[in-house]
Amino acid sequence: MSDERAREVARALTLRYVVASTAILAASGLLGVVLRSSQADWGRVGDNFWYAAMTAHGLGTFVGWAGFAVMGLSWWVLAGVGFPLRPFGLAMARLTWWLMVLGVAGVVVTTLLMGFGASWVFLYPLPFFGAGEWGAWATGLFSCSVLLVGLSIVTWCFGIVHTVLGPALHAVSQNVLTRLGVAMGWGYLWPRAFATNPRPVPYAVIPLTVIGLDMIVATLPLAGLLVWQIFESAGWVGSADPLFAKNILWWFGHPVVYLLLFPAVAVYYWLIPRYANRQLVAGNVIAIAWTVAVIANVLVWAHHIYLDYPENSVQSQINTVMQPMTFSLVLPSALSLYSLAFTIYRSAFRWTAASTALFLGLVGWLLAGLSGIVNATIALDVAVHNTLWIVGHFHHMAMLNIGLLIFGAVYALLPELTGKALYSERTALVHVWSTFVLGMTVFGLWLVQGLDGAPRRFSVLPSEYDTLTRVSVPFVVLLAAAQVLFFWNVWQTIRGRAGAAVFDERGLPVPVERGRPSLGTAAFEGAGMLAVVGLLLAAGAAGFVIGRESAEDDGGPAPTAPATTAVEGGDAAAGAEVFASAGCGGCHTYGPAGSSGQVGPSLDTTTLDAQQVEAIVGSGRGAMPAFDGRLDDEEIADVAAYVTEG
């Protein structure tokens, strides 16, 4: 392929990834707004819909948007540093796109339409305990969908590794392993053994090589677990070991975070020097950091399960070893941030909406990294594990680091990808800053709630957390609204509304100066900003007041009255079936049913009458959950008759 043809291919590919991932952002981001406002009782949705939406939001935004977008931008980065796709890589890149789109579509269908709500980590064996909300079909199809997403990641890795090992590497050696070493930057450490001619490997290639290798290693065992789940849902195999499955899940679950971060680092390495008009400031030690990364990335999974240490297992030893391993993963981030910060420091940095987004993305990276160090420390994780602190941490990471990088890269690259000028530089700048400020607020509130012990993955939070939840909702809505500016800007750019792109002497797109609309006079702008700030404060204050009031009437929203419009005289025979299907025997011993559960009191010796049993079954007691949502009045009456007459 000629150079121009190769760039044309990469251009079309990258655009296709960016457009698809942006569409996924629009859909799954909206789900995020639904989740948070439902928690604030501002449009409450049903519990299972909430958890199904949480599952879709997690997979959709994290992999379908952020992961997918940086996977696409990687093709353009590689083209930009002179690494064209060759036929095999191109086939992989195209296959990746289809697998990802099909996989995400499958996730949407199985969660939102089929009710699968086991969260994106689908912690085994939860997919097989749907509590009547989803069945084996949904579990099987969901597993198939995630398997497609996983395969998409693997094919992307094949494409990346194939591309970086191509002739553009300029490695002297033809040995594949040596060439891999060159692509990981070892030539900076050992110039003779990993010689290149005429130029060393571009820095942006290094993180892509690292993640290309790691994600193959990380994803294949997960694929095995998913295949097992598919077989189990079809009834072909029995159950797997939960602790082993947990380890397999996180074996993938940690590196997949870096499927977002490392390609993002490649984009930073490539774009920041262009805006700073100098080479990337990078000592040779950066190659050490990436070598640590390629190994440590797949050996730190257990920091997600620090609080699992069952007896007669080696889990606590694995966990303890993985704290220092996780700390070592700070190195690629700390050195990259150093390099990028000093590339900008005292340079003739060109500030545009795009480069502002990149800069703020670096700040987001720092914030996410710092909270990540807390999570990586076992003694501190005890206080924040599975609280909203974690949610704040990974939103800093996904939205304020990766997300802002994606926005910056899109604003920077759309002109060279489409040949058309960015529609509105000003709108882009407003979008970038409002995303940063509103994101800091929304995610910061999560950190605070988490430190206060607020649990994550609760469709309804304990009432003492209502105040901050309500305060955050206006900011969540505004954060979502700000993204409309992005969609609009991209859409108008692709339509060519600002004419053809013009590039300056550095190859950077020149912002188009368009006639300011009459609203844009300085006075109007100032008034507008004041109005927005006032609105925010008012909304926040209103939320605070509402929250405090509801926290005062002890216990928050009144529980719904149990639906005990007593059906006269239940049918004990029908009750026997209800007893079995509702799983009463799991907790209760009851001779006639042959059950021997030890969790709740034995029903053989009960002295309650049928009406009392109905009330308890309907609204729950002590540790026993309420069944009024799962059984209708007649079923409750039947089962009450069964356990009192038997």
């Binding site: 299972n48 070592s328 900008i344 340079s347 003694a379 206080a383 950190l447 012990g453 993955r457």
Partner: protein
């Protein structure tokens, strides 16, 4: 907020404040740049930065690694509480313990993964641990304050995860 949470809040707050100051300084340094500065010395100093980061991480490791919750034993005079989780309820026997004496919790579940999170009356997360099917996890905790503690499920376990609660009575 628990003591650990306060430590986290203070440390994170300080680190973020330093980060913000550095970010603003870098931003400002580009706005008044006269002639372009040679960036070569920055590259050479990256090795020094590596050492600083390594030293800081090593210090944090030494300061924290001895506080892992693993392998704790309650010793003589312990109280034993058996906890079984099930979608979506807890069975806690006995549900009454004495303050001031170590309690050994033996945690297990009949179905899916759960999380055993114990909150004081003031809503402070006292401690937590994961609960797995087919296995028993031991957690040791000594309650200093009497009161009614609330148990929440801290590992997502299905549609009524947020309703999976129980109480534990700690007597003086």
């Amino acid at each position: 907020m628990s003591q650990t949470a306060v430590i986290i809040a203070v440390a994170y707050g300080i680190a973020v404040a330093i980060g913000v100051v550095i970010s603003v300084a870098i931003w400002q340094s580009t706005r008044f740049a006269g002639e372009e500065v040679d960036a070569e010395p920055y590259s050479r100093r990256e090795g020094a930065w590596l050492l600083v980061v390594l030293a800081a991480l090593f210090a944090l490791l030494l300061a924290t690694i001895f506080y892992v919750p693993y392998g704790e034993t309650a010793g003589a005079g312990k109280q034993v509480v058996r906890v079984t989780g099930v979608q979506f309820a807890w069975a806690v026997t006995p549900a009454v313990v004495q303050a001031g004496r170590p309690v050994e919790f033996l945690l297990t579940t009949r179905d899916v993964n759960h999380g055993f999170g114990v909150y004081s009356e003031g809503g402070v997360l006292a401690f937590q641990a994961q609960v797995m099917p087919d296995r028993t996890q031991k957690v040791v905790h000594t309650f200093d304050e009497p009161g009614t503690y609330t148990i929440l499920c801290l590992e997502f376990c299905g549609v009524r995860h947020h309703e999976m609660q129980a109480t534990l009575e700690v007597r003086g």
